[in-house]
Symmetry: C2
Subunit: 342 residues, 2 copies
Amino acid sequence: MARPTVNDIAKAAGVSLATVDRVLNARPGVREKTVARVNSAIEQLGYVRDVTAANLARQRRYRLVFVLPDMPALFVRTLRDAINEAIANSVTERTDVRILTFPNDNPHALVRSLRELGADDTDGVAIFAPETPHLRDAIVRLKAEGIPVVALVSDLPNTERDHFIGVDNVAAGRTAGFLMGKFLGNTGGSVMVLVSSMQARDNVERRLGFDQVMAESFPEIEVLPSLENHDNEDLTARVVTAVLAERGDINGIYSVGHGSHALVDLLRGYGRRSNITVIGHELTDVTRDALRDNLMDAVISQNVGHIVRSALRVLRAKSDGLDIVQSQERIRIEIVVRENLV
Amino acid sequence: MARPTVNDIAKAAGVSLATVDRVLNARPGVREKTVARVNSAIEQLGYVRDVTAANLARQRRYRLVFVLPDMPALFVRTLRDAINEAIANSVTERTDVRILTFPNDNPHALVRSLRELGADDTDGVAIFAPETPHLRDAIVRLKAEGIPVVALVSDLPNTERDHFIGVDNVAAGRTAGFLMGKFLGNTGGSVMVLVSSMQARDNVERRLGFDQVMAESFPEIEVLPSLENHDNEDLTARVVTAVLAERGDINGIYSVGHGSHALVDLLRGYGRRSNITVIGHELTDVTRDALRDNLMDAVISQNVGHIVRSALRVLRAKSDGLDIVQSQERIRIEIVVRENLV
DNA sequence: TTGTAGGCGTTATCAC
DNA sequence: GTGATAACGCCTACAA
């Protein structure tokens, strides 16, 4: 039998469509008694609103905004590409997507962009940015205007964001550590740790998880202190070369950040004659090639396509005050090796 | 500016709504000249039909069917659970889902079930079953009736199925082999291969991929012939125990099928005192616990939730003659270890 | 061969 | 407070 409609509840409750609608959308101007009557009819018939019909009637468009840093790291470009692909496919989903870019070294510019957004022109915001007090304030304001906000890739735990879409970076680091330990076996040796910057919370969390697992499960392997390379190729080359020369026992490199470009370039120069296990994060053109060419052994990643689609679904749902399907929105920590590329 | 509607094309082409509709849906009774005029208006305005409005108007429901074997293997139950979860969440998607079960040793029963389905009561079928001549015929008939058919998990390459939703099992086997080789390191030794049955095409393909990689990249490791255990616990225990006793050099076990239950039970008895690397397929309650308890080292898997949702999307799209978003429908070969569980 | 009118389930603008 | 009534974008009798 067919789903009950507003007409059915109207009949059942002995009121008109308009009244049912008022109750459904919690609009004022209905006696409490009537509200109760309508609600019980809704209960009894098991009514669930047809969102597509509602959206048609109100000519709804979801105006969503992605906020991204203007970083050189390939991962950000990968994310941007995924967003653009989603845009291309969203014509059919009543969704208008804008991308706002901010200079990644300038949190004020970010906040300034965010200030432009109001409930009159945006229905949801997805933010990929480091947490700062200014950003916290900006989010407070967005929420005060009733605009849903989700954190992307890097969580903003001390803000009022509605949802975080990304992976647990401690677990991602633990996964990297587990693979490093298993790949090295019980041969001892030591692992060099490369990181773009220890400012970013994701990097810190990954390093933490990595160290946990190495200490717990592979104590015979020594993990060296982090080397910050700021995504600089020359610096990377110099530092890595120096450390490799200095210590003869290095058999693993862990690249914590999402910019393994410099490292991969260097390794490509070596031609992998060194028998070093290399593990990094985020699947990009660079790391994909590196896996294929045996320059890297594993990449811990998160599916950007999934992240973007999840952000869109979650923001639309929040904007409608609807529930989300948890299992569908969980972003998995993916392990990518040579053989399961794509 | 707003998306053009049928009204806009009607105006632009100087015809009525009904004519536009006839052209859009390729219905007969329109002069070629008129068709051309309407089509060029559609082109010019960049019209793209609002599927939700169309579905509302025609009170469209997608009546989809999943066909599954009645197997004891936990993987099938996992898949079934995922379908039921999807059903629970599909109220809002104009989709009615039925599950048809057939005794897995009886392909005739499968074909008989399929015969019941007609264009009058089903809009799409997703089939998880081994390919047989009878099944091929049944699919020919479904397609002849205009019913979209997708293969689930295990491809049906020699049939007219519209789409395959699942992973490349050769690549899955290669991935297992890669991890086995990396985990064992260059210690030599030999790997025992357990398989429920070599009848199933997926098992054969995985074994093939596994052997490829082992031969190419880890020639120092010996891979033993497949032991068929037919998911039987007693048999597994006897065989595995015997082989382990007979050959002292076994340091790896590869469980090819999707029923690692018997093996895990046995290993649990051993308490993992044996230093054997164990790799299997499909994440289920059993393999999840085994990873957590260090009884297994890695599980190669495919996300059943994703598979089911993909099947629904693809069948709906095919049913409407729409394109699918390839990148969204590609099922990934997932590697699951202790640290990236869930 | 083409057009008119009404309806799909919901919302919104009026009156009463 | 409440109820007709007309949209939204599309489809489908039924007329013409």
